[in-house]
Each structure stands twice: as C-alpha cells, then as structure tokens.
C-alpha cells in the first residue's frame, strides 16, 4: 500500500506558491535544478503520420535523431539555461520495447553531444505508452501487457532516460462513460477506487525500476481522464464545470504516484499539477498556450502560474515556413520561459503569476480551479480524507463549493446551463452513499461490462 500519505500541505502560503520554485526541488549532476527558481522549457515531439513497423523503424529513428538535433540546435542558439526533452513513445515502441529503448539511446546521444560540445544542459524524460488496454488484455498487473510496459521502463531507464513518466489508463473506460453522461458517481468510482488501485500498483513498480537504475521517477498525469473532459468541454460537448470538478478529483489519483515515491516533475499534460505541487511539494511540468499545437484549452496562461517546466504537450514533426515544428515549439517555449525567469530575477514573479492567473481565471471554470488561492483552499480539504475514495469525494465537493463561491462573488463567469449542471453535480454527489462497501458493491454490479472487468483489477 501507500508508502507516504500527505496529510499536510507542502505549501501553505500563497506567496510561496509560484512558478519555478518548489519546496522539494530536484538537483541534477549537470547543474540543472528543477524547482530551484528557473523555469525550463520541456519540448515534446513525435512522429508525423507514418506506420511504425519492422520496415519503417529505421526511418523513425532517423526522424527522432533529426528532431532532437533541431531542438538542441535551436535551444543552444537561444542560450537556454537548460532544456528538458520528453519522448512519449508511440504504441509500437512499447509493444516492441527494443524500439523504444533504441529511440531513447538515439535521442540521448544527441543530447549528450550538445552537452559536451556546446555546453547545452539537458534532461530526457521517457514516457512509455500504457498499452494495458485492448481486447487481449489479461490483467492490469500481470501477463503480456504489464510485462511490455515494465520492460520498456526498465530498458529506457538503463539506456539514457533521466525521468520516467506515464499517462496511465487504469479505470479509463469507466471514466469515459462517466464523462459522456456527466455521471458523477461513476466518475468518482473510476477515479477513487479503480484508478487509485492501479496507480498504487503501477507506481510502486516504476519507482522500484527508477531506484534500481538511479534515475528519477517523475510522475503521472490524468491525461486519459480529466483531459478528455477538458477537451470535450472546450468543444462545447460537456459543461466546463464538469471538467473542472473532474480535474480536481483527478489530483487525488495522480498524487498516488507521489505517495508511491515519485518525486516530480510530474507530466506536462497533468493540469492537476498545481494540486500535486501544493500538497506534495514536488516540482511540476505544465503546458498551456504553446500546447495549442496539440489541443485547445481555456487555461493557456494560468497553466504557467506555478509551473516548474513549461511544455508544448506534443507536436508532430512537420515543416512550416519557419522550420520543423519541434524547433518552432522550442523557440516559443524558450521565450515564454525567458520572460517568466526575467520576472523572477527582478523580484516580480508573484505579480507575473497573478497576471497569468487573472488573465484566464474569470472566463472558465476549469481555469478557475487552477487559480493558486483556489488550489490551496481545495487542497486543504482534500488532505483531510482518509482514503482515496474519501479524498476524491471531498475534492469534488470542495470544487463545487469553490466554483459556486467564485460565481457568487463575481470572480467567475458562468451561464445558466453551466449553473444547472453545477447544481446537478452537487446533488449527484449528495446521493453517493457514505458507506464505501455499499457504494463499491453497487458500482461493480452496475458497471461490469466487457469494457470494464473488475477482476482485471482484483476488485470483487
């Protein structure tokens, strides 16, 4: 079970809650310090449309080499104090761990060259794909799929990765249904019970691999969960209040990586990051306006307010007039980071944080629950919960209350449709039984389908 339970906030004072600074900063041998005052760009790039198989894998390697060279070259020309590169392996590179491992080697080699020859400091985050899905999945924690994920982590850890992350998917299918129907009980169950149990098991093992190879178990993201809600909300498919509340609930889930020993920086697309930072004190990676290359959002600025790494999420390798997209994203991120760091250097970082916050927080509920003061208010409640389920329910309840308060005191705009859903979500929360056994039994009974089999999670 959980190694650590966070029962206190690592950050209690709003003045200590700012980008670049984290209570538990991480120092690296090359001199980079994440959370030590400087925000670094985290550039994330991927293959353009192409098949990855035996016949094409050498082409894929070549692309990764060129993309890494382009990014390092641009970063060097722009004189960055340090650079993080993230490679989210494509599925075939986890299904064939040797391909993921070779990619890790290739990318790291270029980074080492730039570090040695040009003094460009850099770190490599490797993110295997969580392939534990599909028709032939036997079990979440044993069998072929589990072994592939673990083998990939291990091989990449031994061959150049500095940070390990994953966008894990335990409970995702249930959560998808919850989102489509804005079904709060199902969402709570998928996160507080199913996802939580998977996070414990998964991260216990990732942390072990990282310890054995002496690298950093960085953290997870609710990409498969609250990002689905967020993107659907941005497209007007579901209410933004639902995506906001879902996000806060997801913080409880994502934080389990840290309970198991992950020390940050968590993954860029975890917009729940501010909660992780406030509660655990670990540095976080965030993405916002520059992630428009991957998806739109209503929190392009506020996402930077307490970030320690600043990312573009993921860009496919394509040529635009200004060069290849990975280089272009690098340039954009570098300038954003320069500006934030300049505010820090002149002692005005709190003002910058507040401007980033104020520019977005009024317009959207999801942006609003990322507001540092709101994060601290809610985080304070979350840590009172004794179990992951209880914390998930508290998170939702506190989020509803903060959103309502924000609307009432005029710091958040919500239309009537949104308000209706806020009330609906609130009453759905009320109707979840206090008795956990009863709730779980009821949920298992009504949600066991071919898509969600509790036995694969050793539940029931």
């Amino acid at each position: 079970m959980a190694k650590v339970t966070f029962n206190e906030l690592a950050i209690n004072n709003l003045n200590d809650f700012v980008y670049g600074h984290a209570p538990k900063k991480i120092k690296f041998d090359n001199g980079m310090v994440i959370g030590g005052g400087t925000v670094y760009p985290e550039v994330n790039f991927t293959l353009p449309p192409m098949q990855v198989n035996k016949n094409t894998i050498s082409k894929a390697y070549k692309q990764y080499k060129e993309m890494t060279e382009g990014v390092c070259q641009r970063a060097m020309e722009l004189q960055v104090p340090g650079l993080v590169i993230e490679i989210e392996l494509v599925p075939d590179m986890t299904f064939n761990p040797e391909w993921g491992i070779e990619t890790t080697k290739i990318v790291k080699e270029v980074m080492n060259e730039y570090q040695d020859k040009n003094g460009l400091k850099s770190l490599l985050r490797i993110t295997p794909v969580d392939v534990r899905e599909g028709n032939d999945l036997e079990h979440m924690w044993r069998g072929k799929h589990w072994d592939l994920v673990m083998d990939t982590f291990k091989g990449c850890a031994e061959n150049g990765a500095d940070l390990l992350s994953i966008e894990s998917v335990g409970g995702k299918n249930l959560h998808d249904d919850g989102v489509m129907f804005c079904d709060v009980a199902k969402t709570v169950f998928s996160l507080g019970i199913v996802a939580a149990r998977d996070m414990e098991k998964l991260w216990e093992n990732i942390v072990k691999i990282a310890e054995e190879t002496n690298i950093i178990p960085a953290g997870d993201t609710a990409c498969a969960f609250a990002n689905t809600s967020m993107v659907l909300a941005v497209r007007g498919m579901i209410p933004t209040v639902f995506s906001a509340i879902d996000r806060v609930m997801c913080a409880v889930r994502t934080m389990i990586a840290n309970e198991q020993g992950a020390i940050g920086p968590d993954k860029d697309c975890g917009y729940e990051g501010p909660y992780i930072k406030a509660i655990t004190g670990t540095p976080i990676s965030m993405e916002g306006k520059s992630a428009a290359v991957a998806h739109n959002s209503f929190c392009g600025n506020i996402a930077a307010a307490v970030a320690d790494l600043w990312s573009n999420e993921a860009v496919e390798n394509k040529r635009l007039l200004g060069g290849m997209t990975p280089e272009i994203c690098t340039e954009m991120l570098v300038y954003d980071c320069r500006l934030m760091n300049q505010f820090t250097a002149s002692g005005n970082n709190l003002l910058m944080r507040d401007m980033l916050v104020e520019s977005d927080s009024r317009l959207d509920a999801h942006a609003y629950i990322m507001k540092p003061s709101v994060v601290l208010n809610i985080a304070k409640e979350i840590i009172k919960g004794k179990t992951h389920l209880e914390r998930t329910k508290i998170a939702a309840k506190a989020a509803v209350q903060e959103i309502r308060k924000g609307f009432e005191n005029g710091s958040l705009e919500l239309n009537e449709r949104e308000l209706n859903y806020l009330n609906m979500i609130d009453s759905q929360l009320e109707s979840i039984p206090d008795n956990e056994e009863e709730f779980i039994a009821d949920m298992i009974e009504n949600n066991t389908t071919e898509k969600f089999d509790p036995k694969k999670y050793d539940i029931a």
Binding site: P49, M50, G134, C182, G236, P239
Partner: protein, 216 residues
C-alpha cells in the same frame, strides 16, 4: 382528446427522464392514443428538437444521450403495439477503431449520431485487426464502414483495411467514412475513403446524403 399527456411526454424525454417517459407512454396508450401517434408526435418530434438544440450548441452531449436513452425506453413500451415495423433502419453501419489504437470516445460520439439518424450501428470496439473488419463485413453486410484512428502511427492502418477490402472484392458496394484527430481530407482521399469528417453531428448527415446518391 387533450394533448396534455403528449406535452408531458415531451418534457420528460427532453429532460432525459427515462422512467417518466415510460410512465407517460403508458398513460397515453391508456387514454387511447394510437401507438403511431405517440411515437411520432411524442417521441420522435421531441428527439428532433433535442438534436437541433445540440447542433446549435444549446445543450450538451449528456443531455442528448439521456434523451436518447429515454426515447429508447419509451419505444421499448410501444414496440409490441406498433402495427408495422416503423423503424426499419435506413442503413447498416459497421464501425471500429484501427488496430493499435485505444481511444474511442470520438468513435462513440459518431456512433450516437449515426443511431440518432436512423442507422443500425455495429460497433467492433477499438484495437480492431484488419481481418476482424473483413470478417465482420462478410457477416453483417453493412452499407457503410466507419474507421477511426486517433494516432498518427495508426492512421495508415486505415489504408490497410481498405486495401484488404479491395483484395477481397468487398470494397465496391461499401461507403467508407474515416475520422479521427490526425486525419486530413487529403489523407482520406489518398487512401481511397469516401467521406472524411471528424464532427459527429456532420457524419450522419453526410452519410445519409451520400447513400441517397449511391447505387446501394
């Protein structure tokens, strides 16, 4: 006869309340309404209103889904009493996400809209291998095949499916719709698909329109 009960039915359906919808369908039957009238004036017309509102972004997906569920609940009561099968589907669609691809929210939304538009939809789920598609097409004989891919590394799997269909002589009478985040119109045309669209609300319309002009 007062129309009060049909109005109540409409309200219940639009609120997505399946239980009340069933209740009002039963009352209407008792009051002597023809099942056909309850179906068209109570259920179908309200559902059309809901669908219109959704297109105009006046309501959300869950509203649409719950209303659909309520409508289906109402139809469940009516079905045995309808004189003829009013609901013969306007076409049969087979959909699935390409092998190696595990995201299916987008595909699921498209499915909802196709069903709404009167299609019968057979969903093969996600991570579907090429030969599964082939076998399912032989078995179900759909007029439309919907292929979804959300990853740049799996989108070429669509081409593999289309090639396999050609090889098996199954391509000709099939309308192929492809979709997913990374799919562009030129990619769709390039691999020999007929319709490209990512927007669930539009796929159904386009499929209807195309079917009309095709020789199926």
């Amino acid at each position: 006869m007062d129309r009060e009960i049909l109005n109540e039915l409409t309200v219940a359906l639009q609120k997505g309340d399946a239980i009340k919808t069933q209740k009002f369908v039963k009352i209407a039957l008792k009051k002597g309404y023809e099942p056909e009238q309850i179906l068209t004036e109570g259920l179908v017309s309200s559902m059309n209103t809901i669908a219109e509102k959704f297109k105009k972004k006046q309501i959300f997906v869950p509203d649409l889904l719950l209303a659909t569920r309520a409508m289906n609940a109402g139809i469940f009561i009516l079905k045995p009493k309808l004189k003829k099968q009013l609901f013969s589907p306007i076409g049969k669609v087979l959909i699935g996400t390409i092998e190696g691809d595990l995201h299916d929210i987008g595909k699921n939304l498209v499915k909802v809209f196709l069903e709404r538009a009167g299609f019968e939809v057979i969903d093969l789920g996600n991570d579907v291998p090429v030969n599964y598609f082939i076998e399912a097409i032989k078995k179900f004989k759909p007029q439309i095949l919907g292929l979804s891919a959300s990853l740049t590394t799996t989108m070429y799997g669509m081409r593999d499916v289309i090639k396999a269909l050609e090889k098996e002589g199954l391509r000709e009478n099939l309308l192929i719709v492809v979709g997913g985040v990374p799919i562009t119109e030129s990619f769709a045309t390039g691999i020999g698909a007929d319709i490209y669209d990512m927007d669930g609300t539009k796929v159904a319309d386009k499929a209807k329109e195309k079917l009309k002009c095709s020789n199926f």
